[in-house]
Symmetry: C2
Subunit: 317 residues, 2 copies
């Protein structure tokens, strides 16, 4: 069901990827997504090389199916991260936050698939030129790191699909079978979800973080760091402080203290959901229940089938 | 084909509405959309009562099919506008930019349908309580006036659909059959399009404005007036000036001079696409051709049918 070229490309059952979520997408979550038929991506952004190796060993204990690693290219040791990931057994490397040009060849030469996350058509075109196997087009509604151009999924996706020849995976605003079918209708060959997988039993997010996602409303997230590095998270004391600092045009240094990566661990790991960054997409308002990863994926596929049938019925002959 | 309850509600063939676009959605465009099987909405926002009456007479010369009028409720004479519209023969009144509570009873008592444009779940709930017949949920990617909460269509639509019992019409990011099917998949029973209809022969937009839409890229629009009344338009000298003024925290008055309604006519009517507001959605980057309204609608329906078939084929039995 819903087999696309993304399934063939990665050797997976359903074209559903786990978004790279630093601190949250650890071994248990990545393994669970792969075992359930999707593609789990270990979020290596906040991890040392040794931790990556350890988490990969852990993933392989829990699943024999393909998995990948997400590597933010702002990490100075990105090449080493890619190396230990592939040596460990990852068959897909997802890169983000940088140019894929330097690393795509290295990934593909070692027999792995390279995918890159983009937020606009020009970045998609550059990624295709760099030779990536697939592109993740991530819209403005997504949680966490966000593009400067603020292009929403509904508008971004068909324009990226029209611009490149490689398969496109949709991200941003997708958490159920309706969003999955909408993404396929817009031309995507698969979806990547973050926020929906935060609210699972297998996610490493602190319980306070999961509760915050369950309680957020449609308008409960906001963008901070618009000028220097936009991210989307749940409105809290920290986002108020940042918005206030932004209005006062404080120095870049003062702002970086409020939006540095430490803020993400503060919420995700330590559970401080007022002073930490609670990265969450706008679709969080729709998520009302912690589920197992298997149920998330099974429910999406079952609902998607119903959605397709109901839309098909609108075509009166 | 694609008959939904929106078609029955308005007595139209296809569940496709013309968005209310001040200066652009005049009689010729509204009549053409209705005549092609959708629902044309006269954009009364910038018009006097006499002009509304005149345009309605003009619409009725060109089509016998149902049409509506869009009325921004910030107009102090909104009640009179509704009155002359219904007296003239409009069967649907679309309201936006205000609370529908005061007017919905008046519209329905006169045998007309009331729809209201919202940008968040709470506004949708209030509209449903006010008794509207349908709700337009408009996402962040839309051109022109935009919600303060910046919720994108992909995330907004399913959350609004879940929150209310009346049919929901999707707006923001839709310009072809892919977007149309995506909207239906997300639970909408119809779509409303603005930018796609700007680039038609029948649109009253100045040729410079139409050319600007044809030339815009995916990242070529931006939000201005974030703090006092957000709108989305094509990046130009005016949006640079406004962003600069916003960074300098100028007075509300100084800002209003740059974003007042006169700026819209300057671009739409006079063709000054550098000093005027060129309202345009993020999907503008996908629009490459001026078409007739009939072709826009026929092409969407034909493409939508193909999209449904291709997604249906992904369900391997």
């Amino acid at each position: 069901m819903f087999k696309t070229e993304i399934c063939e490309l990665f050797g997976i059952e359903y074209p559903i990827l786990l978004g790279g979520m630093v601190w949250i997408g650890r071994a248990a979550l990545a393994a669970a997504v792969s075992e359930a038929g999707g593609l789990g991506l270990l979020a290596a952004g906040g991890m040392t090389l040794e931790e990556i190796e350890g988490d990969i060993r852990e993933i392989k204990k829990h699943t024999k199916k393909p998995f990948g690693v997400n590597i933010p290219l702002m990490r100075p040791d990105a090449a080493e991260m890619i190396d230990v990931s592939i040596s460990g057994g990852a068959s897909v490397i997802s890169t983000s936050a940088g140019s894929p040009k330097r690393f795509t060849g290295m990934i593909k030469d070692r027999g792995c698939r390279a995918i890159h996350v983009v937020s606009s058509v020009p970045f998609a075109e550059k990624s295709a030129e760099a030779g990536v196997d697939a592109i993740v087009a991530e819209g403005f509604e997504a949680g966490g790191h966000n593009g400067f151009d603020e292009i929403a999924t509904m508008a971004l996706l068909p324009q990226v699909v029209d611009a490149v020849d490689v398969p496109v995976i949709a991200a941003g605003g997708i958490a159920d079978g309706r969003g999955f079918v909408a993404a396929l209708s817009l031309g995507a060959r698969g979806v990547q979800m973050g926020t929906r997988f935060v609210a699972t039993h297998e996610s490493a997010a602190h319980q306070n973080f999961k509760d915050a996602v369950l309680n957020v409303t449609d308008s409960g997230t906001t963008i901070t760091g618009r000028a220097i590095g936009p991210t989307r998270g749940i409105k809290n004391r920290l986002t108020e402080k940042i918005h206030d600092a932004e209005r006062r045009n404080v120095s870049r240094e003062e702002l970086l203290d409020l939006i540095g990566e430490g803020r993400s661990a503060m919420a995700s790991v330590n559970g401080d959901v007022e002073e930490g960054s609670v990265y969450c997409g706008q679709i969080g308002g729709m998520i009302k229940e912690i589920k197992s990863v298997q149920d998330v994926i099974d429910d999406i596929i079952a609902e998607a089938r119903d959605v397709v049938d109901s839309v098909k019925m609108l075509i009166a002959e």
